[in-house]
């Protein structure tokens, strides 16, 4: 194990930046200073993260995690949770793209937020978010991870509601916060249940790594038998329940069915926030958590199945909604939900590495697309409705070109980043197996994924066409805008329409260019063998090779014990006192990643790659021909209204809760029972006092009579019961 305090610098540099901006920046109110502090703070994190990951014995080079034990946080009996950080290969990859993409978005935001009154506040929140997010991924136990988890939720809330004068911002922020609370409920219960299970196994722990005095919970779980497949297992209180509860947490944070409703509304925040928090980093925390706990999930085939189904359903569902949205950011929001669904589908079929790969490439191209849309919105003077855009490529050439890179990447056109990761997921979905589930399910999931890929290409093409091609609809007011769509825009909107769009300043275009390059070439780190072998050189999937050790493998059959030789290479035996032993520790370079697949399999994978490419191209051409001439084509009302999910939730969840709260809890329970108890107690005392008041009327002779009566009663008692009643005196 390596112990280095540099690791804590990654999280504390942004915290420090947030403090400076909050305490000093608010007095100085100098945009240069504030932006410099915020970017420098994240820049320090980025440099340290890259150094720790890539130095000769860095996190990505060895199987030993880089650790930083700050202090022991909770110590109760044999249980210990530290405020400790650890960077292994998984958190290393995450830290790299979070800090780097985060840095670019910070730079972008210095231009985008120019002139905003809350400039210092924005960057303080943004830095605070980086602190929380990095704490989340670098935490070496679930408890500290939960601190980061809640921290990013708080920052998300603060930043969604950043525009204080925007009507829809505050309810959107509340919605995000509350939807996340529902998920956190599952997450906390999952942590508690995991603690309970490991306690029964003799090693109470919620840590991810072995350290001095701490046993890894994941290693304990790895030594347990695999749960059987069945719906009863979810409620049995075993590992399946843990995995299921943790997944509820993930659905909240990562906006999956049924808790996805907050993410589209979260677009009320500033666009850099949407890019950083609601596309690239925070919403992928759920995927991170699932992969981090992959041992638990592979021991719970039922939970895996649920994850895969929910992921696939969300992917398809959100993609169809994305087809019909007119707000440029809403399209991207539903696209994000859809892509997150892909990631969970990959997790569900056991392709954890592919999921992380897609998280990374998605961070590149979705951050690119969001920043590009931010650039468009900035250039259009805060116009978000695509129906009032069109023909922008003349006015914003850099934004257009860079967004093309993101567009091709998300559609899955070869060599762009999204192609490799999406293709990997689809292939792993087809070829993978889920224990206890008929193989047809994998094929069905693949089909859903393929349809989603097609839809993705269509709606992204629609977005590009509506924004950058066609006639310039911002010049004249569009006729067929329905009145309810116009009221959302500010009053000055009509005046702004007269301004011509303009290209964004350098501080915004440079991050766009960098992210476009990443979207274009970022996928080359994970070229699968089937494709890289075509060219002859470099037949190694660097990404999978790096990450394979941290992801657990799906056991062959459900209900089997983990005694099989295939798994022995990563099962840690008895908990050892060696510091920093990772939970899942294979030999350097897992056999899985190095193994050359059979020729037949390679051929099949190439075939599927070809199918993916065809799907992408078909989608793009459908989108192109449908919307090139008719960009304002009326989409189905059902999709435009998001399947009325918000209305259904309003009617089935929110209203019942409101009614029960108002009529039941408030009027009956609070007013009746609680107030009744308190008032009743008061009235009883008053009435009792009114009765006994008559004993205290001030007449001495009445007192004397009472004393006499008392004496007579006492004496009479003893006289009646005889001398033995007095025996207590002799005791």
């Amino acid at each position: 194990m390596q112990q280095t305090n540099l690791l804590s610098l990654i999280i504390f540099a942004p915290l420090f930046g947030a403090l400076i901006n909050w305490l000093i920046g608010r007095r100085v109110r100098h945009e240069r200073f504030i932006g410099l502090v915020a970017c420098a703070a994240v820049g320090v994190s980025t440099i340290v993260a890259f150094y720790l990951a890539f130095k000769s014995d860095g996190a990505l080079r060895t199987t030993q995690p880089v650790m930083d034990h700050l202090w022991t946080w909770v110590q109760v009996g044999g249980f210990r949770a530290d405020f400790g950080l650890a960077m292994d290969r998984l958190s290393g990859v995450y830290a790299l793209f979070i800090t780097f993409v985060g840095f670019l978005i910070h730079v972008f935001a210095t231009g985008y937020m120019h002139g905003d009154r809350g400039y210092y506040r924005f960057f303080a929140y943004l830095n605070l978010f980086m602190f929380a997010m990095l704490t989340l991924i670098l935490a070496d136990n679930l408890l500290l991870m939960f601190v980061g988890w809640e921290g990013v939720g708080l920052c998300s809330y603060l930043l969604i509601g950043f525009y204080l004068d925007k009507e829809e911002a505050a309810p959107a922020a509340k919605k995000a916060f509350i939807a996340n609370r529902v998920g956190d409920w599952g997450f906390v219960l999952g942590i508690l249940l995991l603690f309970w299970i490991t306690s029964h196994a003799g090693a109470p722990s919620i840590s991810f790594f072995d350290k001095a005095g701490v046993t890894s919970a994941l290693a304990t779980v790895a030594g347990m038998p695999v749960d059987g497949f069945g719906w009863g297992a979810i409620f049995a209180g075993g590992l399946t329940s843990v995995a299921f509860l943790l997944f509820i947490g993930a659905t909240g944070k990562s906006a999956q069915i049924p808790l996805f409703v907050w993410l589209p509304d979260a677009m009320a925040g500033p666009t850099p926030v949407s890019a950083l928090i609601h596309a690239a980093t925070m919403v992928t925390a759920g995927v991170y958590m699932v992969v981090r706990c992959s041992v638990i999930f592979t021991h719970a085939p039922t939970a895996m199945f649920v994850v895969a189904i929910i992921g696939a359903a969300t992917a398809l569902f959100a993609a169809t909604i994305g087809l019909a949205q007119n707000d440029i950011k809403k399209v991207l929001a539903y696209s994000t939900i859809s892509q997150l669904g892909y990631m969970f589908m990959a997790c569900g079929v056991g392709a954890f590495v592919a999921a992380i790969f897609h998280v990374m490439t998605h961070a590149f191209f979705k951050a690119q697309l969001f920043l590009g849309s931010g650039s468009v919105i900035h250039g259009m003077h805060h116009e978000q409705d695509m129906r009032r855009m069109g023909g922008l490529r003349k006015y914003m050439p850099v934004t257009w070109l860079t967004m093309c890179a993101g567009w091709l990447a998300i559609c899955g056109v070869p060599i762009w980043a999204g192609f490799f990761s999406k293709d990997e997921i689809l292939w792993k979905t087809w070829s993978g197996h889920m224990p206890g589930v008929p193989p047809g399910v994998n094929k069905a999931l693949w089909f859903v994924g393929a349809v989603t890929a097609l839809l993705t290409a269509v709606y992204m093409t629609r977005l590009m066409v509506m924004t950058f091609w066609g006639n310039e609809r911002f010049v004249t007011q569009v006729d067929n805008l329905r009145p309810e769509d116009t009221h959302a825009q500010s009053k000055s909107q009509i005046n702004n329409l007269r301004h011509m769009p303009h290209e964004s300043p350098l501080s915004m275009t440079i991050p766009l260019i960098v992210l476009a390059l990443l979207s274009t070439f970022g996928g080359l780190v994970g070229v699968p063998y089937a494709l890289s072998s075509l060219t002859g050189g470099h037949p190694e999937n660097y990404f999978e090779r790096t990450l394979a050790p941290v992801a657990s493998e799906v056991p062959e059959t459900a209900g089997s014990t983990s005694e099989k030789p295939a798994e022995l290479h990563w099962l840690s035996p008895a908990p050892q006192a060696i510091d920093g032993k990772p939970a899942v520790q294979p030999a350097e370079g897992s056999s899985r990643a190095d193994a050359v697949p059979g020729q037949e399999e390679i051929t099949q994978e190439r075939l599927f790659t070809l199918i993916s490419v065809l799907i992408a191209l078909t989608g793009i051409s459908i989108g192109w021909f449908m919307f090139q001439n008719q960009p304002l084509r009326q989409m189905p009302r059902l999709l435009e209204n998001k399947y009325y999910v918000d209305e259904i939730y309003e009617a089935t969840v929110i209203q019942p809760i409101l009614v029960v709260s108002r009529e039941g809890l408030w009027k009956i329970f609070d007013l009746g029972v609680i107030d009744g108890l308190v008032h009743g107690l008061g009235r009883t005392v008053v009435n009792f006092g009114k009765t006994v008041r008559y004993m205290q009327i001030g007449f001495v002779r009445v007192y004397a009579a009472i004393i006499l009566a008392g004496a007579i009663i006492i004496v009479g008692y003893f006289a009646y019961n005889g001398a033995h009643a007095l025996q207590f005196l002799t005791k």
């Binding site: 009327i697 001030g698 007449f699 001495v700 002779r701 004397a704 009579a705 006499l708």
Partner: protein, 101 residues
Amino acid sequence: MTPQLSWYLALSAVLFTIGAVGVLIKRNVISMFMCIELMLNAVNLTFVAFSSFFRDVSGQLFVFIVMTVAAAEAAVGLGIIITIFRNRESLDVDDASTLKL
């Protein structure tokens, strides 16, 4: 016919009852006070009677204590009575019903 213990007890009970009833029905504070003394002395009589009957001197010791307490009580009580009389020009206890002077 020598006096029996029961005679003394009967006399004592009669005296005590007279005292108790007197406290309850008398309005004059002096009379009430005297009735209290009567009750005390009825008890004293019981003590002495039992002391003589059981040949045990401790009963008579109690009597001395009771008489001492009675004397002290008389001193304090008379002081209160005089104060009440000075304030209210009355010795009727029912007039002193406001729990303050």
